[in-house]
């Protein structure tokens, strides 16, 4: 009888796979290796300071190469490609976070101290010289103008999206789709010039610079975003839902309102929030259409209105003798604007979560 020399017991569940945790090990090892390479370069006199950004960047590239080669050897070509893509996608995410972190750090570090001063939210700039003053007039202007722009553009945008998805079949629908794309490319200052000229024509008053004129300019910029994103979200609603509704005898308009909209509400609210976030920070059109004032103005149909981005921009670009007063106000305004949009985002997501049907993925 021959002795069967059995080899070590092979665990078939883990054959052909890289060991657990090995991916992270290889990543850290690549970074350390590249770091060492850069230290040697610095010691040899090649660079003056330790280039950590270069080390991490090249280390990640080294990791990608290593993981692809190792995985290919152990697991096979398909799995190797999968690991490589996972690494690239994660890198893309981290790369996206870098400018965000840098931006937020810049704005917070330059604007936070001025923003928490009590005068900032309780005063306007009327009769202010020196370091006091606040942005009450700008906050009111931004809220009123953006709200009116939303009221104008959301119904038009949503109804157009409904037309394109539910009703439109012919040349009119194709034309509207195409022209909405063209509308996304209008430079913001042209929208402002257009709104200004329109109201001068309508009212016959050549100096008509008001909040409402600014709202119309912003609406022109918002509508294509609302249309495009809502259209995509409405198209994602499964046809079965519509057909089931029709089969039960529900008229088309009720189907759209009660079945299609609620199903896609999360995406639609995202689209509207995106559009608001886009226009709330616009400077050039508002400077032309809504004008400039240092005092509070509640009336959107008479007299110029100040908005936050215009305020931040003019404070930064036309500094007086004591530059720090102006610069601090500009950064504090920018920080306030970002905070307002963040709050808006949270509110929108809450609204979406409350009204959206509970689908599998969420």
């Amino acid at each position: 009888m021959t002795a069967i020399s059995a080899g070590p017991i092979v665990n078939s569940l883990t054959t052909g796979k890289l060991p657990k945790g090995s991916v992270w090990l290889i990543l850290v090892a690549s970074w350390v290796l590249m770091g060492l390479v850069f230290v040697f370069v610095q010691l040899a006199g090649g660079t003056k300071t330790f280039n950590i950004v270069g080390a991490i960047f090249l280390g990640t590239i080294l990791f990608d190469i290593l993981i692809w080669v190792l995985s290919r050897l152990v697991e096979g070509a398909r799995k190797a490609k999968d690991r490589l893509i996972t690494s690239l996608i994660s890198t893309a995410f981290v790369v996206t976070l870098l400018p965000l972190v840098s931006l937020l750090y810049t704005v917070v570090s330059k604007g936070f101290v001025r923003m928490i001063e009590p005068s900032f939210f309780s005063e306007s700039m009327r009769n202010i010289l020196g370091s006091d003053g606040g942005i009450v007039h700008a906050i009111i202007g931004t809220l009123e103008i953006t709200l009116s722009a939303t009221i104008i553009s959301v119904p038009i945008g949503l109804l157009t999206a409904v037309y394109l998805v539910e009703y439109g079949r012919g040349p009119l629908a194709r034309t509207i789709t195409f022209l909405v794309d063209v509308m996304t490319g209008i430079p913001s200052i042209v929208a402002g010039l257009f709104a200004f000229a329109l109201f001068v024509l309508i009212t016959g008053n050549p100096g008509y610079r008001t909040g409402f004129s600014g709202s119309v300019a912003l609406a022109v910029l918002m509508i294509p975003i609302v249309v495009r994103s809502s259209e995509e979200m409405l198209k994602l609603v499964p046809n079965e839902l519509r057909e089931a509704s029709f089969a039960l005898g529900v008229p088309k308009w009720l189907t759209v309102l009660k079945v299609v909209f609620p199903t896609s509400i999360a995406g639609i609210v995202t689209g509207i929030t995106l559009a608001i976030a886009r226009v709330i920070g616009e400077t050039a059109p508002l400077l032309v259409a809504a004008g400039f004032t240092a005092s509070v103005n509640y009336d959107p149909f008479n007299h110029p209105m100040m908005t936050m981005p215009v305020f931040a921009y003019t404070q930064y670009m036309q500094q007086g003798a004591i530059q720090s007063d102006y610069v601090n106000r500009a950064w504090a305004t920018a920080l306030t604007l970002i905070l307002i949009v963040m709050v808006l985002n949270i509110v929108a997501r809450l609204v979406a979560r409350i009204f959206a049907p509970k689908l599998g993925r969420r």
């Binding site: 398909r78 999968d82 996972t86 893309a92 995410f93 790369v95 996206t96 976070l97 400018p99 965000l100 931006l103 704005v107 119904p155 038009i156 157009t160 409904v162 037309y163 394109l164 998805v165 009119l172 034309t175 509207i176 195409f178 022209l179 909405v180 063209v182 509308m183 996304t184 490319g185 209008i186 430079p187 200052i189 042209v190 929208a191 010039l193 257009f194 329109l198 249309v227 495009r228 994103s229 995509e232 198209k235 609603v237 499964p238 046809n239 088309k252 308009w253 995202t270 976030a277 920070g281 400077t283 981005p309 930064y316 920018a334 970002i338 949009v341 985002n345 949270i346 997501r349 599998g360």
Partner: protein, 313 residues
Amino acid sequence: MTTGTAGRITAKMRLGDRVFSTSTIVAGSIILAVLAAVAIFLIAKSIPAITAKPGTLPNAAPNFWVYVGPLVFGTVWAAAIAMIFAVPISIGVALFISHYAPRRIAQVLGYVVDLLAAVPSVVFGLWGVLVLAPALTPFYYWLNANVQWIPLFGGVVDAQGKTVLTVAIVLAVMVLPIMTAICREIFLQAPRLHEEAALALGATRWEMIKMAVLPFARPGIVSAAMLGLGRALGETMAVAIILSPAIVISFMVVTSQNPNTIAGNIALQFAEASGVGLSSLVASGLILFVITFVVNAIARYVVGRRKAFSGAN
């Protein structure tokens, strides 16, 4: 029994249906009307510039087309570079949030990326010129020293880093949140059955995405890219603050003589413009309109928009 034309039964149009469908058509027509009004406005204001005598145009241009040529090049060039950066990254980030990230933090990650959309364009401009440009300048010097055989990186590097490449990166960052948000919503709606069928047959995660998610999402990705491209073409403030412009058509991306974009040029010259100068700025806005038109037409033709691929069908 109601019959319409011979043999065809049409449904009874209720009042609610009629009102609703009419209101949607009205909304669509309002958009057409607004666009037509904008086009008419632009054409009316541009005529003095297009018919201007030589010597009256800004930049000492002999005629309007010489004036606007470098601007057109700059606009398309900056937007193209920005989209080359932005499209793959935004698809990657959207995939990460919808398919790769742990379920519990996916919503938070989506919110974090949306924060980028909260930043006003003036702040992007200031950040670009105060933080990003100085940070990128050593990299530009390195490129210029070592990769000079690629004509893109030749020339004399701008010591402040205020170049087309910096602007393109900032434009890409500005465009990212819009594209990522739309792509993310679409990827989340990919048909689960297809995904699970692919996984059940032994596909890796990437193969599943390639087979089940991306084909489903292709029209949506194109829409998102169109929105992003529109933003990149029309961005005014960030370009005006960051770029160091000159009247030149050049492919070198790290020097201080960069072609300006149309929107950036309008922002820079508008304040002091009057008469024929003002008309030429508005006329360049009209040209931008036309460029967006053409670029969108080409993109739609190349990619081929398909009819609604909705739900699980």
